[in-house]
Each structure stands twice: as C-alpha cells, then as structure tokens.
Amino acid sequence: MTTETSELRRRVQLWFGPQHPGITGNMSVQAWLEGDTLTAGVTHVGYLHRGFEKLMERRRFIQSFPIVCRICVPEPDTNEYLLAAGLDELSGLAAEVPQRGRWIRTLVLEMSRLQMNLMTLGGHIGAMAMGAAPNWLIALRDLVLDRFEELTGGRIYHMFITYGGVRRDLPEGFAERMEANFRTIEEKLPLVDNVIFDSSVFRKRAIGVGVVPEEWVDEMSLSGPIVRAMGIPRDVRKDFPYEKYPELDFEVVTTTGSDIYARAWIRRQEIAQSMDLIRQIFRKMPEGPYCAKLPNMLTWTIPPGQTYVRAEATRGEMGYYVVTDGSDKIRRVHVRAPSYVHGVALLERMIPGTNIADLAPLMVSLQVCPPEMER
C-alpha cells in the first residue's frame, strides 16, 4: 500500500525563462524544485543565437564592426575594442594608432563599464523586488548614455572604436558636461548605498548566499567581480595592461566573502573607480590626431595571422581570438565570453541547494548576459 514516492513526484520542474521577469534576458533555466530548494538546473541557450562568428566570415572588416557590438547588448564597447585591437595587431596598424586615439578608446571603455555597473547594481536589489533603487540607478545610467550619444551618436550601440583609433574626436566641452553628470551621480549614490548596503533586509538576503568557492576559480576559469569578491586581485587591466591603463593610477578593488553582497559591493566600488579613472583620463589626455590614416576599407586586406586579445569587461575577462588569411574578410573569430563560463557552467553548478527566491539575485550577481553566451 505505501510505496516509496518516486523521485519524479517529489520534485517540480520549473522553467525560469525565456518568458520570466526574474531572468536577465532571453535565456532559460530549467530547474527542479523540491520544497523551496532547487535541486538541479540546466541552462538553455539558443533563444538569441545569431551566428555572429559565422556572419563575420562573410563581411569585410569594417562591416564587422556594426555586428560585433551586438554581442553584449548592455556593454558593446569592449567587443568593438577587442575586434579593433585584434585587427590592429594583425595588420600592423597598431604602431600607428595615435596617442589621443588610445586615450579616447580607454575613455569609452571606462564609460561603458560605468554604465553597465550602474545598471547591474540596481539589478541586485531589483531582483529582490525593491523598485526604487533600480529606477534611480537606471536614470543615472541614462546620464552616461547621454554622453555616449553626444560622443558617438547612439545610446546603446556606438560603433565608435574602429581599427586605427576611433571614429571622431571628443566634442567641445565634453569633459565639463561629463563632470556635471558625475556630480549628479555622486550626489545620488549615498542614497542608493543607504537603501542597498545599509538595508537590513538586503543584508539578510545577500550575506552568505551564493558563495563561490575559491577552488573553482582556476578549475572553471572564473574572472571579474566574482574573483575579486574572493579577495583575489585579478584584473586584466592590471595583469595584462592594454591601451592607456598602465598610465592610470588605480588599485584593483577586492573584498572577501564571495557572496552576493560582496559582489554588489565590488560593483559599487568600481562605479567610483570608473568615475575616478575617467577624470584622470580627461586630465592626462593629450591633444593630437584621434585616428591613424586608414586604408581603403573596400580593398583592404590583412596578411595571414592569428592573435588573442583580451580586455576587462564588467563581467570578467573578455577575449577575441582572430584569424586572418590574407583576404579582405576575417577567416575565423572566436569570442571568449565571461558570461558563457558564469552563466552556463558556474550557474548550473551553483543551482543545487539554492533557494528558489535566491535564483534571480544569484543570476544578477553572476552578471549573466545572454546574447554574449550565444553570440
């Protein structure tokens, strides 16, 4: 009469996504729930797959730039920079990129890190249903987007960094307007700190939740804020300096705890760090040309070769492996996307034992960016 209840009936299968407000984009986590604890989870991708790496093999070098920025929608500039840096290196254009061009590239990269961190910090508490802080932070992010629009003409997709430098020089009075925006941001941030880091409920929800063990760092090649939240000062900007980062004065932000709270704290510190770096850039930037003399984009060919370039995105180390074969198109490109590691491998490994309520904050704190996972 009494039979042992089968495993199948003890658990409930739930899909987080693709149509789910708790998911950070168009992806899904198929999870199994027992009581209120997730016992297993599988990440499903493919909802956004466009085949970038394939599409680029059919396009000329300059045609690849509009495509490549769509790889990570909220933070496109890292992708543009990496493709540009790879092509620079392979074509020998790297030596000709003028100093100001490099400074502007660094500026754009930092601005994009700033706006992404502002959004993600709001996401941390937004995933726990606190509406006010994300609203404020996204409004602050819009200020940075305004500057992007002024500089590049686009709010989200900029297509600004190209091989040989950047597309145009800074507009008149750009630094002053940026400074005014920074003052607004700095005025608002203490309020945000107050409702996030001083909130007893957030502390209860975030401290000790979603801890990533230190052994996984090398085993799973983790990077970015996840690693820095363990106290390991690993940052591509310091370890493998690129562009003008060696000339900038900054320390890698670290903390201990490795939980959701620690990662949120890292992002909060990096917002301040980005603003500081941008101020330094404006101070140190020399006058001069912003772009090398470019060859005819329709006939330009790059000699055969291959290279791997990397940069620090807000999510971790982002890398491009670029192969050229002497034609006017890229032979092969592979994107090393941090979200792929964090969103598929790490997330699946962390789901067992997670409370159902903690999945959304966990995903935000791992900063999973679905389009980057699928390319």
Binding site: A129, G131, V201
Partner: protein, 303 residues
C-alpha cells in the same frame, strides 16, 4: 431601520468602498512612482484597468473550482466590510456590525484567503501552490502578534464587540487604543504590514521568483472580480484598524483621513525595502513583534 433599507445602504456602501479602494490603490501607484522618481499613472488608472479587464473579449478557465477564487476573494472582502462599522452613530453606515464580533471578523479575513487559495490551486499551475504555501506560512506568522493585540484590546473592554471597543475610545485622542496600549498597537501595525503584502512581505506574488503566484492563470472577468475584491478587502482591513486603534470615525471625512493614514504606513515601508525570503518573514513576525504583543497583553493584565 428596516432590513431592506439597511441592505440597500450596505450595497451603496460596498460600491463606495470598492471605488475608494481603487482610488487608494491608484494613489499608491502614484506615490510609489514618485518615490522611484517617476511621474506615475493617473490616480484613476485602476478604474481603467478594471474596465479593460472586464471588456476582454476572450477568457479561459480550468476546472469549475477555478470560479471559486475570485468569488471567495471578493466575497471575503465584502463580507468583512459588512461586519465592520464604518462610521459610528450613523446606522446607514454601520453595516451589519451587530451580527458579529471581533472573532468573526478575524476569521472572515481567512475566509477570503483560504477560498482564494482553493480556487487558484485548481488552475494546475505550479506557481499557484508555491505562492499559496508561502502566503499561508506568512499568514500564520503575522497572526500571532495580531492575535495578541486583539486579545489585549478585547480584554481591556471585556468584550469582543467592535462596537464596545470603539465606544471605550471616545472622548479625545488620548483615549485611543494606539495611545492607551501602544505596545499592542505596535504588534498589530507590524502584523498589518504582513497583511497588506507590500515589501518586504510581498512574497506571494513575487514576480522575480514565481510570477505572479496564485493568480497566474486568471484573466478577463475573473481578474476583474479579483481586483475589486482586493480593493474592498484593503478598505475593510483599514477600517477595522481604524475602529480598533484610532477610535473609529464620526464622519465620512474622518474615516477617509484615518484610513488613508493607516494604509500609507505600509506603503512607505514597502517603498524602500527589498523582499524577505519566506522563512525570514515567518521568523521576523515570531520575533520582536510577538514580544511587543506579549508586552501589550501584560500591560492589560497589570492595569
């Protein structure tokens, strides 16, 4: 007053209460929006939403129990409202409050919740029972400080009659229970946060976790009844609190002002907090709100 006239007045009262509940919900959306730095919807947005939902061209249902959730939600709200005197001394607005006492009112709150849970569970969606499991867990937890406060109130006047509890508070603000027994009032008002399901206690419908909990499958006319039920339930609960702690109301205007203040207590708390996990919410209510309630009862015993 003849029964027929009384029923007619009550019907008017119910409609007014639904409208008032919708207006309050609209103002809340506006206030929340302003806190978040937005303009927010117009205050009458809830009426438009309600109309839109009724005018939906198609509707879907599951089993026949599916009908029960909106009916019980609205029935619980209306029933609760009918048992609570709104304005003292005006027979037209005191509803059927003489047919029941505080215990009945307390259990009528559960009538709506339990019925809603039963109906929603029939949809077969896993989010419904998960949400209900969370909601019922939280309900038992805030019930303890609430019950302590109720017991303190009732012991003070040696009666469970809401009318008696109002009458003992007459004669100025110093006689209000919120001042004569502040500890019990604290316990009750914290329980009120849990009852109203604003953050940090909005664990039932949590969109980031189980969108949107029990009413996931509800649509069209079902949803409209649920929305009006929620509106009148909110009004009935704040009227109950007004009667218990703020000395009731002598005029409709006074009732509006007092209920408004009571409701906004939970909104302002809700605007600046994220959400608890279920077990954290349960433990919270069993912690110092309960201690406050016990102290409130002790206060009555000492006196």
């Amino acid at each position: 007053m003849p029964l027929g006239v009384k029923i007619a007045w009550s019907l008017v009262g119910v409609l007014v209460a639904i409208a008032y509940g919708l207006v309050i919900a609209g103002i809340i959306r506006k206030v929340m929006a302003r806190i978040q730095g937005r303009i927010g919807p117009p205050v009458w947005q809830q009426f438009i939403d309600l109309g839109k939902v009724i005018f939906q061209r198609t509707a879907t249902r599951h089993g026949w129990m599916f009908y029960l959730a909106p009916i019980f939600r609205a029935g619980g709200g209306i029933g609760l409202y009918l048992l609570v005197p709104v304005v003292i001394g005006v027979p037209a607005l005191s509803n059927f409050s003489f047919d029941g006492d505080l215990l009945l009112v307390m259990y009528f709150i559960f009538f709506g919740s339990l019925g809603m849970a039963l109906g929603a569970a029939d949809s077969g969606h896993p989010h419904s029972p998960i949400g209900i499991s969370r909601g019922l867990s939280q309900m038992t937890a805030y019930e303890l400080p609430f019950a302590l406060a109720m017991v303190a109130m009732a012991a003070e006047v040696h009666s469970f009659s809401i009318h008696d509890i109002i009458m003992v508070q007459q004669g100025g603000i110093l006689h209000w229970n919120i001042l004569t027994n502040p500890l019990a009032a604290i316990a009750a008002f914290i329980a009120f946060l849990g009852m109203n399901m604003y953050a940090p206690f909005n664990i039932v419908g949590a969109p980031q976790e189980i969108p949107v909990g029990p009413p996931t499958e509800y649509n069209s006319v079902f949803l409209s009844l649920m929305m009006s039920g929620r509106a009148i339930l909110a009004v009935a609960k704040i009227v109950l609190y007004m009667d218990l702690f703020l000395g009731g109301a002598h005029s409709i205007l006074e009732a509006f002002v007092k209920t408004f203040i009571i409701y906004f207590w939970s909104v302002f708390v809700g605007a600046v907090f994220p959400r608890f996990r279920t077990e954290q919410a349960v433990r919270f209510f069993l912690g110092w709100p309960t201690v406050a309630g016990i102290a409130g009862v002790l206060l009555v015993l000492i006196r």
